[in-house]
């Protein structure tokens, strides 16, 4: 049995959650609403995050292109995804929403541009 102490981020109240994992059985204490329960379970069983960063863009009106993972990726992959993003170089023009890296680190999630950068 494992216990996790978390702060719920679903609303400004910030309930202090205690999530207990006992085999397949996950229980959440300290939440005041159902959203807190779902958050607690997700954070412990498969936490995920959106990663945002920038990549080098050649010939652009800006030196950097801002990007994000299109949806959340597993939290433990954050630094792997960052390493891929850091390696990436792209070329202007780029439109917001363009795919910059496909299926980053095998997550099934694309890294996409969040800015439109025209040619210089």
């Amino acid at each position: 049995m494992k216990k996790y102490e978390l702060t719920c981020i679903q609303c400004p109240i910030g309930c202090a959650l205690t999530v207990t994992v006992d085999g397949d059985n996950v229980t959440v204490d300290g939440n005041t609403c159902p959203r807190g329960r779902v958050y607690g379970i997700n954070e412990v069983t498969h936490p995920s995050r959106t990663v945002t960063s920038t990549v080098y863009i050649e010939g652009g009106a800006l030196p950097r292109l801002s990007v994000k993972t299109k949806t959340d990726i597993p939290k433990d992959k954050i630094f792997d995804v960052m390493a891929e993003i850091k390696k990436k170089k792209t070329k202007a023009p780029v439109n917001s929403g363009d795919v910059i890296i496909e299926n980053v680190c095998g997550t099934g999630v694309d890294v996409i541009a969040t800015k439109t950068v025209k040619e210089k």
Binding site: L6, T7, C8, I9, P12, I13, G14, T32, R49, T50, V51, T52, S53, T54, Y56, L62, P63, R64, S66, K68, K75, I78, F79, M82, S96, T114, K115, T116
Partner: protein
């Protein structure tokens, strides 16, 4: 002198939303003056996500949020000038702007929307003792250098102030390979959102030290370290609690200040607490025809509220320029009671008000299980229970026109009660 019906000063989130709404209301002759090289303002450097949940019901990054509005500005063909900085505004709504392309140009506006945003409180204003080496940045400056220009300002970072920009930068610099040692916060509570504390600090095991402040900066050329101290309930450092941190960079996220130098030049009256103009329910300042919205009016936590407020300002500016507004003559003053620091607007014109007016405010402390109470001339009208209120999260009430049915009050008071 060239005339425009509406001139919007600032092409950030507030200015863009004001322009879009003025156009949608029917304004034909709008000009946006933007000092930077591009529209979008501070959102351009806020590459993290979390914007737009209220406005677009989805989670966007700053540039994506800005682009939604920029697209509309382009689609509507609203004229804008970049790298054009306003140097002066007169109370007659004459605007002097400077640009390399055009020189020094004076124009005249039927109505003005102030949307210049805010600036960060610098080290000097905080009075942190020590040397004045390189390596001290406000969080927003470091953010711009990183996300727009592509430079990492430091490798070993200490952050003073738990405002959202500081928290966001803690994560951002960590992701780029810097070691963020700690975030210290003077107050006994964080100024940032819970979500940011969890996802920017806890995710990366960055400690947050509440009731602590930096009491010395070390290093003559570049920061070599800082000393922090615990503070007492009066926010004074407690001798003997000093801790040294080895770092090459100090980031400051210690508050934002509405940037109202131009408002002052136009003779606009300012609120001592917000640092922004005093406005009525139309978001009109003390100078007729000059409106204000966004962080120049009062510092917001969520851009969604900036957009909403700016849309109102843009719409009202349109009505003013079109000669559609008249003074209703029944001014209701908004005042604050216990636990409330300010309200925006500061007054309502009962004669011309909309059916419902949103009044935004901030509380003075963290309150759990208290109520927001609203009084009309001392008579309790409404009491709303709140699980939690904090200075870092803006609160709001709405004042309905029909609530004045019996008698229009002279004063509405908002306060926190048990």
């Amino acid at each position: 002198m060239k005339h425009y019906d509406i001139v919007i000063i600032g092409g950030g989130p507030a200015g863009l939303a004001a322009a879009v709404s003025a156009h949608e209301a029917g304004a034909k002759d709008i000009l946006i003056l933007e000092r930077d090289e591009r529209l979008g303002g501070i959102l351009n450097q806020c590459i993290h996500n979390g914007f737009g949940l209220h406005t677009f019901k989805e989670e966007l990054t700053g540039p994506e949020y800005a682009e939604r509005y920029i697209k509309k500005v382009l689609e509507y063909g609203i004229p804008y000038k970049l790298k054009s900085i306003v140097a002066d505004i007169s109370d007659k709504r004459e605007i002097l702007y400077i640009s390399a392309e055009e020189g020094a140009v004076t124009i005249e506006a039927g109505a003005i929307v102030l949307a210049m945003g805010c600036r960060e409180r610098p080290r000097g204003a905080l009075g942190i003792p020590g040397y004045r080496p390189a390596g001290i940045f406000t969080a927003g400056t470091a953010q711009r250098l990183m996300n727009i220009e592509g430079y990492l300002v430091g490798k070993k970072v200490f952050i003073l102030g738990s405002g959202d920009i500081g928290l966001i930068m803690a994560r951002r610099m960590t992701l780029e390979g810097a070691e963020v040692k700690c975030v210290a916060e003077l107050m006994p509570y964080s100024g940032g959102l819970n979500r940011n504390i969890v996802q920017c600090l806890n995710d990366f095991n960055i400690p947050l030290k509440l009731s602590h402040t930096v009491t010395k900066i070390h290093g003559k050329e570049r920061v070599t370290g800082i000393t922090i101290s615990k503070v007492d309930e009066n926010r004074r450092p407690i001798p003997g609690t000093e801790e040294y941190y080895d770092c090459d960079t100090l980031l400051l996220s210690c508050g934002l200040l509405p940037e109202n130098e131009l408002s002052k030049s136009a003779g606009v009256a300012l609120d001592r607490v917000t640092g922004g103009p005093v406005v009525d329910d139309k978001l009109q300042t003390s100078v007729p025809g000059i409106f204000a919205c966004g962080n120049v009016l009062h510092v917001h936590d969520l851009v969604d509220y900036v957009s909403e407020e700016a849309e109102r300002a843009g719409y009202q500016a349109y009505r003013y320029a079109a000669g559609e507004t008249a003074n209703g003559g029944e001014t209701v003053k908004l005042t604050v009671g216990h636990g409330v620091r300010y309200t925006v607007p500061q007054s309502i014109d009962a004669g011309t008000m909309a059916d419902s007016v949103i009044v935004r405010f901030r509380v003075a402390d963290v309150y759990r299980d208290r109520s927001i109470a609203v009084y009309y001339d001392g008579k309790l009208i409404k009491r709303t229970k709140k699980r939690i209120m904090a200075p870092g999260e803006m609160e709001q009430i709405s004042v309905r026109k029909d609530s004045f049915a019996e008698k229009t009050p002279d004063t509405i008071t908002v306060c926190v009660e048990d």
